[in-house]
């Protein structure tokens, strides 16, 4: 079984500051990793994904994440945030060897990023 831990439920930052949202996962096999963003009163949208290859992946809106296999982490970063980045961010994982069930995403509980002026 796999699980995802988002260590911070809330992260307040000031505009133009850097931010890191932490995500750790547990799985006994190889995984695909994702970050989704949910703006207020909207559904989730894919921010970025790691499937294979380079461990540093870039997504939309200037976000990037780094896959660290030894630390089983996939932290999300942005060097300078905007007020419009205020949203809830979800880390998700799918297991490559779950008997063909790798359509199932296991989500973390989310991190609410609040960007203040």
């Amino acid at each position: 079984a796999q699980s995802v831990t988002q260590l911070d439920s809330q992260v307040p930052v000031f505009e133009e500051a850097p931010v890191e949202l932490r995500c750790n996962y547990s799985s006994s096999v190889s995984v695909y990793l994702f970050w989704y963003v949910q703006y207020p009163n909207q559904g989730l949208q894919l921010l970025l994904k790691y499937l294979s290859g380079s461990t540093l992946v870039k997504g939309i809106n200037g976000f990037e994440a780094e896959f660290n296999k030894s630390q089983t982490s996939f932290h999300l970063r942005k060097p300078s945030v905007h007020i419009s980045d205020t949203a809830e961010y979800f880390c998700a994982v799918t297991d490559l060897n779950s008997g063909g069930s790798n359509y199932k995403l296991t989500f973390g509980k989310g991190t609410l990023l609040t960007v203040n002026p």
Partner: protein, 114 residues
């Protein structure tokens, strides 16, 4: 193009009543998912449809929950004899392919059971 749509956007119902939640996936997407989002609990997988294959119902929390997908397109999630713990946001997502986690989410239906 049009995204995933869900209706109603909000539903308030009395305990014990049945409710139906509807999802219209993106045209051409073969995979459809239902999730439940409770406050502070992240997203909980409920059910998955892929083409004409038997759905994966392993995430449904009880036999009061059921879902169907007609004609490989529209899906309905039905909750019978609703309980207060069913109050949550129900999210639908669709995907053009099974793999790789690229799911496109609708705005959700907020269900409140009084």
């Amino acid at each position: 193009g049009a995204g995933v749509s869900q209706s109603p956007s909000n539903k308030v119902t009395e305990k014990g009543k049945d409710v139906e939640l509807r999802c219209d996936p993106i045209s051409g997407h073969t995979a459809l998912y239902w999730y439940r989002q409770s406050l502070g609990q992240g997203l909980e997988f409920l059910i998955y449809f892929q083409g004409n294959s038997a759905p994966d119902k392993s995430g449904l929390p009880s036999d009061r929950f059921s879902a169907e997908r007609t004609g490989g397109s529209v899906s309905t999630l039905t909750i019978q004899r609703t309980q207060q713990e069913d109050s949550a946001v129900y999210l639908c997502a669709s995907s053009p392919r099974v793999l790789l986690g690229e799911q496109y989410f609708g705005p959700g239906t907020r269900l409140t059971v009084t």
